[in-house]
Amino acid sequence: MAETKNKHKIKNPFEGIIEKLFMIFENKIYLYGFFAALVVFLVIFPNTSSRFTQEIMTNLFFYVVVCLGLNIIVGYAGLLHLGYAAFFAVGAYTTGILSSRMGMDFWLTIPFSIVAAVIAGLAIGFPTLRLRGDYLAIVTLGFGEITRLTIRNLDVTGGAIGLIGIQRPEFFGITLNQISHFYYMFFILAILAIIVSYRLENSRMGRAWEYIREDEDAAAAMGINVTTSRLYAFIIGSAFGAVAGSFFAAKMTAISPDSFMFIHSVMFLMAVVLGGMGKIPGVVLGSVLVVLIPEVARGIGPYRLLIFGFLLLIIMLYRPQGIWPEKPTISTDE
């Protein structure tokens, strides 16, 4: 492997530094030590911070869950998806309708929201997954908008006003209604999402996705069912989004079509691409950046979004493969 590392071409001043930084994590002891410290820090975090900071951190965990779900579709299966907010909306509205209109317990609504997302995933995925690249992106983009407009115009979804009065979940007799409760809930959800992603990545299915992503025809010629594998990625990713949507609905207690705009799909996708598609730490890092940069920059005032955009531009110019990509960049084109 030493041979491969020598072939790195240093293209910009940042690249070497970032690679070296991540090299520290190649050492398992440092890696586990870092994770243990991080988990301990995050567990005691709510006791030492304001509600506002907790709110941001909760949002961050939420992003981690959603982006890991999107990563299954975009990163693992290599399908460009521009309407992910729609699946997230399907989950949120399933829980919202069942909870606020029928008084169903929050935990019981989750299976329904997964089923709804699977049906939606099949409906959109089955006819379109034969399309390649750009075409699929257009279809998913359209699907995202159609879903939002449908929700906006149906009675059962509350139209443009949305749904209110979604019940708070109970957990062993405690009603979850404090921000610190949701902080822990989304923290656990994020950890579960990481574990599930990790298991998927190393499964037979995960390897099939990897092969398809690298070369679709070669994978098919080796006996991998390309369409079915993609459909699985699509469905599993959709289910991830729906579960996140359910918890989102429970946290907000009120949802409206404005929470599921195209811009949200873009933000999710951005977090995935920014951090490094297809790798769990990369996606987590991307979520952290997308959520935290605008908040940290709040003190700067009205120009913060400008600076945010500028930073994104810089990152994409110098690290088009993402900050923490799947594999170190090696050029094998010759």
Partner: protein
């Protein structure tokens, strides 16, 4: 003659409005090495891709072991033992040699058999064994070709479709690759359908050959006869 293991009947394939194959008929007997010759754009690669269903035929049929596989999905054709080694090798450059080979046995669920086959491939291609932890992209052209063939052998194919195995390789390596193809054919009884531009090399060891020109078969016969007939070689196969 026996029932052919593979037969193409009036096979037509087109890309949009343009016909790449205009109704070709090819028979391959069990255990044979058949070469498909012709210039660029004659439809050789399209023929293989149509057999393995990477492209769909527009009419005609592909019969394998008496079964019509024309419109089957590529993965189910692989399960029947028909393996396509695509042109330009199509190995995974970012995966190691070993990972590439393991992909070949993707349809297999038994780890012990996988290990045995892996060893067999390393026996056949010792250089792959030496380099099993290296990235596919760092292999030389000849080694990449060996990797692509080794990967195909991981499924123990009954019928191997090889697309230009000699492309861009030095003459010495071409000979080496051709020897191994012969060995696979002899030892495992694998039937081989081979596409080649390097007609001379292919005719040396194939049993029979077909010559394609703009989507039609213009000639067929035993490889021996064909290589003897200088005029044919010049007209269709080039020097």
């Amino acid at each position: 003659m026996n029932e052919p293991v593979l037969s193409l009947k009036n096979l037509e394939t087109r890309y949009g409005q343009i016909y790449a194959l205009r109704g070709i008929n090819i028979d391959v007997q069990e255990g044979e090495i058949v070469a498909l010759l012709g210039a660029n754009g004659a439809g050789k690669s399209t023929t293989l891709k149509t057999i393995s269903s990477l492209i769909n035929a527009s009419s005609g049929s592909v019969i394998y072991k008496g079964e019509d596989i024309t419109y089957r999905q590529p993965h189910s054709i692989v399960e029947m033992g028909v393996i396509h080694v695509p042109e330009g090798r199509m190995i995974f450059k970012e995966l190691t040699v070993k990972e590439n080979l393991e992909l070949g046995s993707f349809t297999l669920h038994d780890n012990d058999i996988r290990k045995k086959r892996l060893e067999r491939v390393y026996e056949l291609f010792p250089v792959l064994g030496e380099r099993q932890q290296q990235m596919g992209g760092f292999l030389s052209g000849g080694e990449q070709q060996m990797l692509a063939m080794g990967r195909a052998l991981m499924t123990e194919p009954k019928l191997l479709l090889l697309d230009e195995p000699s492309m861009g390789l030095a003459p010495l390596i071409v000979k080496n690759i051709m020897d191994i193809i012969k060995q696979i054919n002899k030892e495992q009884g694998t039937t081989i359908l081979l596409v080649e531009q390097n007609a001379k090399a292919a005719l040396k060891f194939a049993n029979r050959a077909y010559v394609l020109e703009t989507g039609e078969i213009v000639m067929e016969g035993s490889a021996e006869e064909m290589s003897k007939d200088e005029s044919i070689v010049k007209a269709y196969l080039g020097e």
